[in-house]
Amino acid sequence: MTIYYDQINVGDEMPSLTMEPVTETQLVRYSGAAGDFNPIHTVPHLAEAAGLGGVIAHGMLVMGLVGRAITDWVGVAALRQFGVRFVGITRPGQTITVTGRVVEKLEVDGEHCEHRLRCEVTAVDQAGELKIKGSFTAALPLSK
């Protein structure tokens, strides 16, 4: 479903997305996919030794989950900017929910004029604990 710039208002919510719970296997899989072999994500005794109380998810994995919610809504080609701050640690067993809200609409002159939305996004776990705070900008078509 295409969304149109003129049909979106400041304050509108991005459809929220709740993921499957993060699993240890997913952390192994993500390490291999991303090429991030820091053992704090995959090797329990080394994560313990690092004072983390067990393996923790890669920040970039959680950013990837936020990206999933964004591209479900606006697609990949529309994305112009996407930035996050890593606020909290994510552990296996936690369920991430991504929400977002339109905070600005802007027209950008360049080679051709673009209509862009700026949205704030957050990722929280099932207890509402904040993991990521971020924002993205996407260029959208007009309905006519």
Binding site: R29, Y30, A34, G64, L65, G75, V76, A77, G83, R85
Partner: protein, 150 residues
């Protein structure tokens, strides 16, 4: 130990990464993302794309597999990689990343700051990497904020 300030504005050696379909599929699967635009050219074209594209956080692979990782840069500046935290990550998108692309990254240090936090001394480095494809087109700029605990 403070990071070496002489690195500010210096560029690091470039590094390359060849994008293939299986790596795109692997990342999408690791994220639990079943969007067919990451695995199926037909479906991607039906969604208005030229074919399979990479998901938005795919540029993290360029660094990790392309030997241009934050860890390498922090070590080069005299920081202890075991004391590194990833504070922020930002991507500025200029073009699509597609299977077959050969992406070359060029990283530089944008800023180095020191701060006394509640838990002690912190070094804060902002690293910026420009990625271009085999046609020299800019596809993405990545900015990483790395905190090194003192």
């Amino acid at each position: 130990m403070a990071l070496d300030k002489s690195f500010i504005d210096k560029t690091f050696p470039s590094f390359s990464f060849e994008v293939d379909k299986s790596k795109i599929r692997e990342l999408a699967q690791a994220l639990g993302d079943d969007n067919p635009i990451y695995v199926d050219d037909e479906a991607a074209r039906a969604a208005g794309l030229p074919g399979i594209v990479a998901p938005p956080t795919f540029p993290t692979l360029f660094k990790m597999w392309g030997e241009g990782g934050n860890r390498v840069l922090i070590e080069a500046m005299g920081g202890d990689p075991l004391r590194m935290l990833h504070g922020e990550e930002e991507y500025e998108y200029h073009g699509l990343i597609r299977p077959g692309d050969i992406i070359t990254g060029q990283a530089k240090v944008v800023s180095l700051a020191e701060k006394e936090g509640r838990s002690g001394h912190l070094d804060i480095a902002v690293l910026e990497t420009e990625y271009r494809n085999q046609r020299a087109e800019l596809v993405v700029i990545a900015r990483s904020t790395i905190v090194v605990r003192g």
